[in-house]
Amino acid sequence: MSYLEHSIKAIPTGPRKILYLNWPLALLLAAVSSVGFLMLISVSGGSLRPWAEPQIKRFVVGFALMIGLAMVPIWFWRSVSGLAYLGTLLLLVTVELFGEVGKGAQRWIDLGPLRLQPSELMKITLVMFLAAYYDWLPAPRTSRPLWVLLPVGIIMLPVALVLRQPDLGTSLLLVAAGGGIMFLAGVHWAYFASVLTAGIGLVSAVFQSRGTAWQLLKDYQYRRIDTFLDPGSDPLGAGYHITQSKIALGSGGWTGRGFMQGTQSRLNFLPEKHTDFIFTTLAEEFGFIGGISLLGLYLLIILFCVWSALLNKDRFAALLTLGISLNFFLFFSVNMSMVMGMAPVVGVPLPLVSYGGSAMLVLMVAFGLLQSAHVHRPR
């Protein structure tokens, strides 16, 4: 279904477009980000520095960027999606060659004030490109083997590069997001069933290979899985983070200790308390009520996205919107599972709340695309 078959006149033009933004969604994004600012202030002991202030600046820039991107017609984004994908792929290769090494992994390109993480960008451009692909592909071909293999290749290429960095968490997220689009586009059940079976096989292979010459993961990744399965086994080594984070969470109780009163997460030795583990601070200081409220906000964001997608009669726009919301969902659900000891520590930030410029900007760009799809939907 193409835009040409709709009446373009019904689509708002010029500055009036601003009125047609998905404003409830934008407000929800601002609300979640504000929770983030509050937590960053708390983590740094009541001060805007060193974390809250740059984060606020980034959000303002990101918000403006979102509105700016939303003004650009969605058909433009569709036409550049292939280029965007290739460009990000090129950046990933560049990181491989010139990237900066941080925490044993090579992930960034240093651009002065901003550290660009191409793997973050890839989460968006991959979804864009796959959405464009399924928009272009005639529906009867969707489940033909050749036309299934092609998107699998599109997904696996960046995944392989990200795995090499090495960043297991992000590569799994890419696979999940890409697979999600394929599922939404209507690829036959049998494919997913067989991949699932193969996945189970792979997991057992990963464990079988441990200690042999061809072991598939790095030692520290095995250790993380070990400690995830039994955090008590190494409470001071790799299990330290999970144990600490559970204590902090648990001591929050129903209502929490109150703003800036959380001591577990502030005094404890959590090295990433302002990034990946920021949820512990929130849960300790605002308790179950605070935690469930943030989860509620996230749920609302997802619901607004899905609603916007179902409203949209354009296949590209709908798939893009659903893909971005799926990505967002994966972000916060993986982070929360990790913090609550339900998933291994893989280093995924809490979206819009964790400190970090690259992730924040990329998310706002994604929501900009989503808003563009919403504004320019055929009516």
Binding site: R224, L236, S251, I302, V306, M340
Partner: protein, 644 residues
């Protein structure tokens, strides 16, 4: 809208519903987990956290200590006091620091550093104001504690090297974990993030970091609202690092270090039976204690600016053309190939012409007719040129490798060099040019591309002396568990050939016409066998050659020859193998051999040797030297076993 489109939309909606449902289910799971942790399990945590908060603090483990082979302490931990400030508790840190400086004297430099560190680090992390604080100052801070909020004295362990500079290059030193260190470690343990936690940076301290560090313990403490520790609830002791015993003999090491003082030189002593490195001295040296405390820029510049390179660990890192000490390899290769008999003679006219180029013997007038023993004894070059032309470079390199040259020995020291035993393939790969016959001629007397470290030369000598593949061993035991000795297995060589080599090396030192005759030992059961070496570091120009050989003393230091000497003793039952290299020292017989002889005797006698081991003519000079060295090391006789 076509029916196809409608069908597509229906399918999309259906799949969206399925995926959305799965997401909802997962979010429900997250909420349930949150409820479980925060509501159902909350009581368990809340009980502990009612009035005070429970905190887990890491207890840094005590680092393993290092001993010498006789149990003398080489690296130990001593309690040290420091003053730290937590800015969260202190409030106005400038005011707090000002108050503190009224109580104890603080130097402005460390105050400045503290201020900048306070700005950078998180508010609840302690920042060290002063380290190695005296006990009086600590008590003053404790007495004034009520006025000094946020400032606390802390006791910690700091590393001290009681032998000072004697073992700097072997032991290395520790220092605080740097960002660079952290970036190199995959998934660093939390312990490493403790401010100022010290890890090995160089030498055994770095190479055996895993053994020495130990495992962190933890204590659960109650802290009040400001984070001050109120009470310790329980503690889980960590595991102290394993103690390491080196094969080094601290007394001999100290002697060797003192004997080398003033030169840019190194010496290695290996126990022929076990491969134990008994001494491994590199001069000039430095005081590792300076690095532990954080070396000042001025001191550091002094070390890096010194042309004698005190920071270089010359025993393993220094690579030198082995010079004439390599002749045993050339001779062994020829003997093993059956190309010569020891009695075969060659005529040395003072030079050998090979494909139009003249290769000179060090003695311009030539040695006349020489056999194997005489050629080694007088270090005739032409004899070995001749042998090399017969044997070829490949066999010579193979022989050298059999004796441990060109191989990185497995010794836990920093920057252990591999050296080089050149082959045709190597030159093709490294230079892209063909091997020429002149290269072989140069290699036969240990010049040209040939490079070896003093450690490799000592291993070579030990293997010549024993006929076994002696492996150097630096670690005697770790945590009480003995490392296997490097006794080695018999080399695949004809024992008769080895005996001939040893006899020739004996003649070098003990024959009146031998190049090291002046450095002989006259005690009959301790006589040594050895070989001098003088390796050229420059090309002699044609002009220089015409004007006659310029004596080393007339050259600037950095262009003088390296002096080398290798020996083993006693010659009939080898106990120690020694290699000495004096950088730009001049001739091997004058600069290196006397040092090697003194160190060998010191090792054989386990202390200062009696004067009658020396030739009568030398005794007055040796007496004076012994007195001088005793004065240099006043603790030498007391630093023995009673300290352990």
């Amino acid at each position: 809208m076509t029916p196809q489109d409608r069908q597509n939309r229906r399918k999309l909606s259906r799949r969206t519903a399925i995926l959305g449902g799965a997401q909802l289910l997962f979010i429900g799971g997250l909420a349930a987990r949150m409820r479980y942790l925060q509501v159902e399990e909350a009581d368990q945590f809340r009980l502990l956290a009612e009035e005070n908060r429970i905190n887990i603090r890491l207890i840094p483990p005590a680092r393993g200590e290092v001993f010498d082979r006789n149990g003398v302490r080489l690296a130990q931990n001593v309690p040290s006091y420091r003053i730290v400030i937590v800015s969260e508790d202190a409030g106005d840190t400038d005011l707090a620091l000002q108050k503190l400086s009224q109580v104890v004297a603080l130097d402005p430099e460390s105050l400045e550093r503290t201020r900048s560190e306070l700005k950078r680090s998180a508010r609840f992390l302690p920042v060290t104001i002063a380290e190695d604080v005296s006990w009086e100052d600590i008590s003053r801070v404790s007495v004034n504690a009520p006025a000094l909020a946020g400032i606390t004295p802390e006791v910690g362990l700091s590393r001290v090297y009681p032998q000072g500079s004697d073992l700097a290059h072997v032991l290395g030193y520790v220092g605080p974990v740097s960002d660079y260190d952290l970036s190199r470690i995959e998934d660093p343990e939390p312990l490493l993030r403790i401010p100022r936690f010290q890890i090995g940076k160089v030498g055994v301290e770095a190479k055996r970091e895993k053994d020495l560090r130990g495992k962190a313990g933890a204590k659960r403490v109650e802290v009040n609202a400001t984070g001050r520790i109120m009470r310790e609830l329980d503690r889980q002791e960590g595991e102290a690092g394993a103690d390491i015993q080196l094969t080094i003999d601290a007394a001999l090491q100290g002697y060797a270090q003192a004997r080398l003082d003033g030169e840019s030189a190194s010496a290695v002593v290996i126990d022929c039976d076990s491969g134990d490195i008994v001494a491994c001295a590199s001069a000039p040296t430095y005081d590792p204690n300076l690095f532990v405390r954080g070396i000042s820029q001025a001191d550091y510049d002094l070390l890096t600016g010194d042309p004698y390179r005190p920071l270089a660990s010359k025993t393993v890192q220094g690579l030198y053309p082995p010079g004439s000490t390599f002749k045993m390899m050339t001779a062994m290769a020829a003997l093993e190939e059956g190309l010569i008999e020891p009695d075969d003679t060659a005529y040395c006219p003072g030079h050998l012409e090979v494909s139009g180029r003249k290769f000179h013997c060090w003695k311009r007038a030539g040695h006349g007719w020489v056999d194997l023993q005489n050629s080694l004894k007088q270090s005739c070059d032409v004899y070995y040129y001749d042998l090399a032309l017969k044997v070829g470079i490949e066999k010579i390199s193979q022989m050298a490798q059999l004796f441990g040259l060109g191989q990185r020995h497995d010794v836990p020291m920093s920057a252990v060099a591999q050296g080089l035993t050149p082959t045709k393939d190597w030159k093709a790969a490294a230079y892209g040019s063909d091997w020429v016959i002149g290269d072989t001629v140069n290699a036969s007397i240990g010049q040209g591309f040939m490079l070896a470290s003093p450690l490799q030369l000592a291993v070579m000598t030990a293997r010549l002396a024993t006929g076994r593949s002696v492996m150097p061993r630096l670690i005697k035991s770790t945590g009480g568990i003995e490392d296997p000795p490097g006794t080695g297995t018999p080399l695949p060589l004809d024992p008769e050939n080895l005996r001939k080599m040893r006899r020739a090396m004996f003649a070098v030192v003990n024959d009146r016409r031998g190049t090291a005759y002046k450095s002989r030992i006259i005690q009959d059961n301790m006589r040594m066998a050895g070989k001098t070496g003088t390796s050229q570091v420059r090309n002699i120009t044609a002009a220089e050659r015409r004007s006659g050989v310029i004596s080393n003393a007339d050259l600037p230091w950095e262009r003088r020859d390296h002096a080398l000497f290798v020996d083993f003793a006693p010659h009939d039952a080898p106990k120690y193998a020694v290699a000495v290299v004096v950088e730009h020292g001049g001739g091997g017989s004058t600069a290196a051999a006397p040092i090697a002889r003194d160190i060998t005797l010191q090792a054989l006698y386990q202390g200062e040797p009696p004067l009658d081991a020396y030739p009568p003519k030398d005794r007055p000079a040796i007496r004076a030297q012994q007195k001088r060295l005793r004065e240099m090391r006043p603790q030498a006789n007391t630093s023995g076993k009673d300290q352990a």
